[in-house]
Symmetry: C2
Subunit: 271 residues, 2 copies
């Protein structure tokens, strides 16, 4: 296990950003999207990201067999006086490779998710980037233990859906897939961004009380792919809404997303 | 320099808390208050704090000469699956001792502070504790470079004062020293808590537009002590308010605070 000095600002203040990247047979998925978000995050925090060649070197050495997740952390490094960063920071790049198995059963049969009681705070200065201040996600993820609950949905103070604890959320409305903006809270997903870039996804707003009227709902990220949501339950486990997971709209979106991730041909969506 | 494994949750998510403790001649100031806030923070995040004997061992080995700051970090340790913490975490205690010199000139002559443009987000689930998610403080501290600005004041979305980037804020009103509650944002200061416990400080609310009418304003923490604020300037450096720093109310509060910190007899407040 790699170690870092205990005065690193990533540890001290969460002063940095990270990415978790799907790697299949040595090939990282959505690499350009991950690098772009990482760089955008560093700049938003006020320091220069590692050079692209330094990032590229991270995947040139990846194992060519099997399925992994590559986690990259970039911190502002050590130094500075308290919260005040050094004038010229020396960012620290930390990488870790973990074995990973996708869950095709969740792709095919969908999942039950739960509505979290934690309300996400609005902080436009930090919204959208994948920074290391993730206590809201940790607290939300602690709200349930049951393995039957695949994810937890999070709302903002206006009662609108924002994201899931570790995934983005999308819904189908009037022939379009929509996802919340991440300009006040939440993380802009790389898979969501790639789907949006390909014309398969747009921005929208969904108030929680409008959720039961939504026909299709999914949670997704660049590692797990797309999980259709069968049912949303509240903190007591009572049903809040039910959704249709086996429709052409869901399967087509899933096909597009999984093609972007390189999962495309490896899984049958037949039930 | 001590190192930590790169899979520590403190680095990954800011999943932990910290304290910075003034140590003079081997004696930590406000030790019980620091330990109490540390423990409260761990419990709020959902894990058991280190035993008191483990914390006490941190200061039994301190150098008996000179003035230092002891920084303690307690993370939830390694493990878990993503944001989901392990069922039985093994918290990691990291300690670091740094030389420190207080700034008596600031005690005596007061300071100029600046109003930060960053607005603090409201998150009651994290407010009051000294957790490791401190990017708001880092961003706010980056708003100025001039050494003539000693601190930056932060407001909430309602335009009320919350704290300074690394200190608490107090003001004098109708014969009382007041400080904002920290139930939506901000960190509850140990010196503020000790002053409150001794009857020298109460909770209040101060809207920014009422600041010019405040006669005395101070920023304070358990390491620096109490800095009277002479002037508040805006982001362009234009004066927003001026305050009287040389009055019995200010000097008496300073005396009480510095006695709590063990600075009491070492400094003359005569100008």
């Amino acid at each position: 296990m790699e170690t870092i000095p205990s005065d690193d600002r990533g540890l001290a203040y969460g002063d940095g950003v990270f990415e978790t990247i799907l790697v299949q047979h040595g090939k990282p998925s959505l690499w350009a999207w991950h690098c772009a978000r990482l760089a955008r995050g560093c700049r938003r925090l006020g320091f220069e990201p590692p050079a692209q060649a330094v990032l590229d070197a991270q995947y040139s050495a990846l194992p060519v067999q099997g399925c992994h997740v590559l986690k990259l952390i970039v911190t502002r490094g050590s130094g500075g006086r308290g919260y005040c960063p050094p004038d010229v920071p020396s960012p620290r790049l930390i990488s870790r490779l973990m074995l990973f198995s996708p869950q095709p059963v969740r792709w095919q049969k969908g999942v039950t998710v739960r509505l979290c009681t934690l309300t996400m705070a609005s902080q436009p200065r930090l919204a959208g980037i994948k920074h290391l201040n993730r206590l809201e996600n940790v607290l939300a993820r602690q709200e349930w233990q049951s393995p039957d609950i695949a994810e937890g949905l999070l709302c903002n103070a206006r009662g609108e859906l924002v994201e899931a604890t570790a995934m983005n959320v999308i819904w189908y409305q009037e022939g379009c897939w929509l996802t919340p903006r991440t300009d006040e809270c939440g993380v802009q997903g790389t898979l969501s961004a790639a789907l949006m870039n390909a014309g398969h996804l747009s921005y929208g707003t969904l108030a929680l009380d409008a959720l039961p009227a939504v026909r299709h709902l999914c949670v997704l990220n660049s590692v797990q792919g797309v999980w259709p949501v069968r049912q949303v339950v509240d903190a007591q486990g009572s049903p809040l809404s039910a959704h249709d997971i086996d429709s052409p709209a869901v399967r087509e979106l899933q096909r597009q997303a999984h093609a972007l991730l390189g999962y495309g041909d490896s899984v049958s969506f037949e039930r």
